[in-house]
Structure formats: structure tokens, C-alpha cells
Point group: C2
């Protein structure tokens, strides 16, 4: 399993992904799930992947192949597409092509071939966008009402996002909340683990894109993990016990 | 969906279950999922159910039917079984019988027939026990290393349990932590909702068993929901922002 999180905020875009892959509990490994698509000149486009690693790598491979073969037809490639909506369509179509080849072969031997992607970024001066591409190749976009999208092992880390993250959350704060969401997930699920990759694209065009990897011994992550555990325990203590639970002493 | 939580602690047993059932998002209803099994004289035995409501009701119905028909063979009934292990076996066998009848019919029309149960309590002077009976009728017991078992929509509410609950947590505190676990689940998932039923069986035989229902407007639950949201936001603020995120002012 994997956990990937995308946050599209007033201040910019944040995308985060862990690196754990596993085929059963006895075959763990570490693969990068956060990738840069496009050529980086007039566009910053990133994709995070969850699900079958062979299928998601095929999706990325097909997109790269298209870039090599689509000379004279730039609209057919992520590097040449005019809009982020078009990029999401291209990624969705690549998912469908991967399903038809690798996916069908996996289905035959009853292996899960589902794959999902977060695709985010911007082209030229157009606004930042974030999409979730489902395993059938269809997709939805992120809007300001719920300013985040998740794929993979999404449930453990969702409560903190539902409570603490808003469209107006500053980027630094959002990264911190995102890391707490990863921390909750990793605490409860072996299928998600560091290193965590993240990319941060500020809304202002002139601000640099920041890429960062949080390694297995990252001191900041260690600190927030320990602080968060302590703060949660303290917060629990602060809340009064149920008033209907006053019982007398035990007679035996 | 449903969320049920059982906690087997040094101080006693706590079982909690919500009451939400739904067949699709347009067919919500409220059904009790926490039931007393057995006759209450020499035993206190409770079951919480998650999954297909028709199958779980059939399981309970079969156990009641056995109680009526097993005259002279008390070992065949929850009310007559000599141990909690035997009770778990009987419940598991009832799940298998329900699978063979109702479950098979549901499978034919491609409806999910899975059901899981938490079965907890004690018989005579034997120690308190807690079991999770899976949809195939097999089961595991709760041990002090991880002193809780969950069924249904388990993931949203797990991080707080992993962090705050230990075998030595007092019962009052455990109920509070359990309610926070339900709060996290209900905040992020429409398939779990109040009323919440709970039963508390103290370790000491002389202390009374407490049953309680937390209604839709329960003032204590409202209070902890609001306090917890505020405490989580405050805790988030307390943690420093990532040091590698210091960026200069935006040039545009």
C-alpha cells in the first residue's frame, strides 16, 4: 500500500507521497511515488501514484513514450498539452491503456491491478490545479470546499485533515498538517513508511518550487512524531471523563 | 457501514457500537448493533455486529433459536456454554450457518454478505474475554499487547487508540478515548453515526455492569467533540513548522 496526499490551497499546491511498496508482508521495498511530468519550462506538473507498482510504472512509461513519439502533435503529450484538464485526460487515457495490457494480465491471475494517481501543477500563467485520476481513468478535480485529495491508504490520516486543514491554511502549516496525517497513517499501518517525498508549488509564479525528501531518520519528523503523541495524550487528559460513569468503589 | 470497538483492559471490558445502517446513501436507518447474549444470571455476554444487517440479525436469531431447541444440551447454547471460548465457537458456527443460507442468496445477486462480530463478557468467575469473529466464522481473542479489537469502519478511529489506549488505562478514561475514536470516525465518514451504545463490565465481579446510550444530542458528546477539535487545532499550532521551508518573500 501507499499513502499520497495533495493539497490545493489559496497559497499553493503541496503533494506528498510515501515510498513503501509491498507484495505481501515479506516483500517490502522502497520506490519513489512522486514524479515530475512535463518539461519544467512553461509548466510544473507532478504525479503521485498508488496501487499496483507495475501498472503505475507502465502508466508513466506510456506517457514518456508518447512524448517521444508525438512529434508535431504536442497536444497528445503532457509536455505539450495546453491545459491541466488536458493533462488529466492524457493520464486517464494512459491508465486505461495500462489496464488493457498489464491490468488484464494481472486480472487473469487474480492479482489486484488497480492504480490511482494525483496529478497536480500548472501550465503557463493558468491557475494551479489538482486532479485525482481513478483506476478506470476517469478523474475529479480538487475544489476549495475540501482542499485536499488522497489516494492509497487514506483513512487513518483523514481525521486530522478534516479538522485542521482549510483552503486558507498557509503552506508551511499545511506541510506540517500533511506530515501529521502521514504520521497517523504510519503509526497504524505497516504499508506506509518513510522516506516521504514532497513538492511544494507556491501560488506566486516567481517563488521557487521546493522538492524535499524526508528520510528515515529525519530529525524534524522524529520531533513532530514525538510531540504529536505527547500532545494527543495531554489533550485526551484535558477532556473530562463521562459524567454518567461515576461508580462506587468495588465491593470485592 | 458501522463502527464497533471492544476494549479488554486490566480494569474491565468496554464494548461500543454505533447504530447507523445504510444500503446506499439514500437509505439510512438506525438499528441497535450491541446486544446482550446469554441469560444474565451467571454470565454477562455481549455481541456487537458489523456488516450485512440481514446476516447479522440471522446470526442472532439462530443463537436464540438454539436456546429454545437445545433442551438437555446446554453446551450447544450461549446461555449454557461453559466457557467464553465455547461461546465464540457457537457464534462462529452460527455465522457459518447464516452464510450458507442468507449469505449464499446475497452472493447470487452480488450483494455483500460479510458480517463480523465482537463477542465479549464472562461466565461465572472466569476472567473477562473478548473475541473478534470473522465473516468465515473463525475468530481471534484480544490480548493485553493490543488491548482492543475493532470491526466495521475501523481505520479513521484507530490512530487515537494506538496512541492513547493501554492495558492499564482506567475504565473512565478508556470510555473517553473510545468516544474520541468514534468522533474521529463520524467526522470523516457518513456511514457511522449516533446513537452510540456502550456497555461496561468492570473486572470486579461485584461492580454493576453499566449500559448507556449516547443519543444524537448528548451534551457530553457534543462537549468532547468540540473540545477535541479545538485541542487538535491547538496541538497542531504548537508544533514548529518545517525548518527546510524557510522561503524568501514572493517577488510577484
Amino acid at each position: 500500500m501507499t499513502y499520497c496526499l495533495g493539497m490545493l490551497l489559496e497559497a499553493g499546491l503541496v503533494m506528498m507521497a510515501d515510498t513503501r511498496t509491498n507484495a505481501g508482508v515479506d516483500n517490502f521495498s522502497s520506490f519513489r511515488k512522486l514524479h515530475e511530468l512535463g518539461d519544467g519550462r512553461d509548466r510544473q506538473i507532478f504525479a503521485a501514484t498508488a496501487g499496483s507498482l507495475s501498472v503505475s510504472q507502465t502508466v508513466l512509461g506510456l506517457l514518456e513514450e508518447d512524448a517521444l513519439e508525438a512529434e508535431g502533435e504536442p497536444g497528445r503529450t503532457v509536455g505539450g498539452a495546453a491545459t491541466m484538464f488536458r493533462v488529466a485526460q492524457l493520464v486517464g487515457a494512459a491508465v486505461q491503456r495500462a489496464n488493457d495490457s498489464v491490468g488484464a494480465a494481472l486480472d487473469k491471475v487474480h492479482l489486484d491491478s488497480d492504480v490511482e494517481l494525483l496529478v497536480g501543477g500548472r501550465i503557463g500563467n493558468a491557475p494551479l490545479k489538482l486532479f485525482l485520476v481513478y483506476s478506470a481513468g476517469n478523474f475529479i478535480k480538487c475544489t476549495s470546499e475540501v482542499p485536499f485529495l488522497q489516494i492509497g491508504e487514506t483513512k487513518y490520516g483523514r481525521p486530522i485533515l478534516d479538522r485542521a486543514l482549510g483552503y486558507d491554511t498557509p503552506l508551511d502549516e499545511a506541510v506540517k498538517i500533511g506530515l501529521l496525517s502521514f504520521d497517523s497513517t504510519m503509526k497504524s499501518n505497516l504499508g506506509v513508511a518513510r522516506p516521504i517525498d514532497l513538492v511544494l508549488v507556491p501560488r506566486g509564479r516567481g517563488e521557487p518550487v521546493l522538492s524535499h525528501r524526508i528520510g528515515e531518520d529525519d530529525p524534524y519528523f522524529e520531533e513532530i512524531t514525538q510531540r504529536w503523541a505527547r500532545l494527543l495524550r495531554e489533550a485526551t487528559q484535558t477532556i473530562p471523563n463521562p459524567p454518567w460513569l461515576r461508580r462506587g468503589p468495588a465491593p470485592d
